[in-house]
Symmetry: C2
Subunit: 356 residues, 2 copies
């Protein structure tokens, strides 16, 4: 995506080329994935005046050739930055001023990098990448819609089958299985947090029996690398009136927040709105209100207290207020939202309190 | 694990304390997990002369309190290094010479870090962490054995059910489902690569029909955070004599390599042994021979061409020779191995060519 726009960034920064790298297959670089469609060990080189190319270990060559970038080179075994340096030289790519992503460059890698690229000047273009990724193209919006559709369908199937699950782990396993069966990947490890476990927003599903009370289910898939994110809180057993009222109180806040979204709206303003609406419960809202989604599950905009971001056309992000009472319970309601002239909720699973 | 040994490292480096951090829940810091048992956003502080403690966002407080580290502080929202700085000051922890892990510290984070910690000297202790993690304790060996047992059982169940899978994705989904159902996590996304897909060592399971020919299945689980790793190559359809011979040729190399393992053996020597044994096929062996496993799926020792590592007691690592013929097929056979006075193969699933 957006190689042309990336080249404009290089123009503005007066950089000869951009070097994005990944040295660990278990920690893929999301910017390589975004700009090239390739995910794995290797480097994406984007020269300001020439076509981009990928350099990968021999073992990844065939996979990389299926990406959007047509030129693929193999690197020498275990000589990462040396190979990149040699291939740049052979291709007469000027590399005095280089743009690198300092959020995906570790101190040690940079030390190795500088051994090969001795007299270069490097500029950070992490934020430029994030800013390009923040505004989705039509193609990306199509993928994100499809991703949300799939997440909805799988989540609804899980809720329908919920009574057959003995443990949180079984419910999570079901979500994962249905995702895989469709040839999709998860956006993140599903969260199923019942009873008092619900008070931990990042609880890992356990293989103890599902507890009675509120049960938070947070789930998302990747469709063509694009993430969806949805949370529903259901109730296992019979909620009393106070519990029902509390759920509907949070649901109203979530819906009202969505209705506040408009062009140029400050994300911190949306966060403030939730905080104010929660009144005396605002201290029980212990995380951000939401985050952009794309090739990563967390990207711009940030819907947090100190965020400087504003809502713009073609942004896709979550709205997910939650309240957590340690050792008691938690409730979170989350949708993935598209803003494009108007607000569209992409995740459509019912938010009425479901009683199991 | 090994907090005492970590303090000895700080003594040697003349560091006042170690600071390990993680700012993104989707990229947990394996060293925090190793030393504390906590996984998620936050920082682990290990002062040279005092007990270690964890600093986490409010939302993770309850989860962090379940870790091995008993003291847990909450940080202020979105003020990561400022909070760490304040808590260190309040606790009168000397922090002039700090040990940091430069492989898990990005250039941008370091810039933010230095704003708070202005006149400090930082030393890298990444390799020290890896060296501590490389030699497993008895407790870790117990977890790793159990992890391999679970992987074996699940893989065998998948192989038994293999004929019922229509697609690679379904086979991968089954592996994942059985893992989750036991309340375990995956070490990595399972690889199921049939026919010509097998020539890509990191193929993502597709939702096309399983192809005839060799099918590479690479899988592992985490038991109490400890990874297992096993690959078996089965055959879908009827292999001809040449194919059977080729499989057994690779299997003999894998077994012979395992028999070469002994105390102080150079890892590069094991790699060389495979390369020589492969003869004219050595160029089709496009990845490393193996890697240590622990809280990460890839850690020390490295069994690669240029490795400086040697086999020592209480190391756990994989041996996984493979051959890949682009657009044709691939074969890989992998076990997780414990070396402790003698060599024990922890993954026990049969390696005879299984014909489906």
């Amino acid at each position: 995506m957006k190689i042309k726009e990336l080249k404009s960034v290089l123009d503005k920064k007066n950089s000869d080329c951009a070097i994005l790298y990944c040295s660990d297959s278990s920690k893929p670089n999301p910017n390589i994935l975004y700009f090239s469609g390739y995910s794995g060990i290797g480097a994406l080189i984007v020269p300001r005046r020439k076509d981009p190319f990928i350099i990968v270990p021999e073992m990844e060559h065939e996979k990389a050739r299926k990406s959007m970038v047509k030129r693929v080179y193999s690197m020498e075994k275990k000589k990462f930055f040396e190979s990149i340096h040699n291939i740049l030289r052979k291709n007469r790519i000027k590399a005095k001023n280089i743009a690198i992503d300092k959020n995906n460059f570790t101190l040690n890698s940079y030390r190795h990098f500088k051994k090969q690229f001795k007299n270069i000047k490097s500029k950070d273009f992490f934020l430029d990448c994030m800013k390009l990724r923040e505004i989705k193209t039509e193609k990306e919006i199509g993928y994100l819609k499809k991703s949300c559709d799939c997440a909805d369908k799988i989540l609804q199937k899980a809720i329908k089958n919920f009574k057959s699950f003995g443990t949180e782990a079984e419910a999570a396993a079901f979500l994962e299985y249905e995702t895989r069966k469709l040839g999709l990947e998860l956006s993140f490890s599903p969260i199923v947090a019942s009873g008092s476990n619900g008070s931990m927003p990042h609880h890992v599903p356990s293989n103890e029996r599902i507890k009675r009370g509120f049960c938070v289910i947070d789930f998302g898939v990747k469709y063509k690398a694009y993430c969806s994110d949805i949370t529903r809180t259901i109730y296992v057993g019979n909620p009393n009136d106070k519990e029902k009222k509390f759920y509907n109180f949070l649901l109203k806040i979530q819906n009202d927040t969505i209705n506040q979204i408009k062009n140029n709206k400050k994300c911190s303003g949306l966060y403030d709105f939730v905080n104010k609406s929660l009144g005396k419960y605002k201290d029980r809202f212990t995380h951000g209100l939401g985050h952009g989604v794309g090739v990563e599950i967390h990207e711009l905009p940030n819907l947090t207290l100190n965020s400087k971001d504003k809502i713009k056309n073609n942004m896709v992000f979550t709205v997910e207020p939650g309240v957590y009472f340690p050792k008691k319970f938690g409730i979170r309601i989350e949708d993935t939202i598209l803003f494009k002239n108007k607000t569209t909720v992409l995740t459509k699973t019912s938010k009425d309190l479901l009683i199991m």
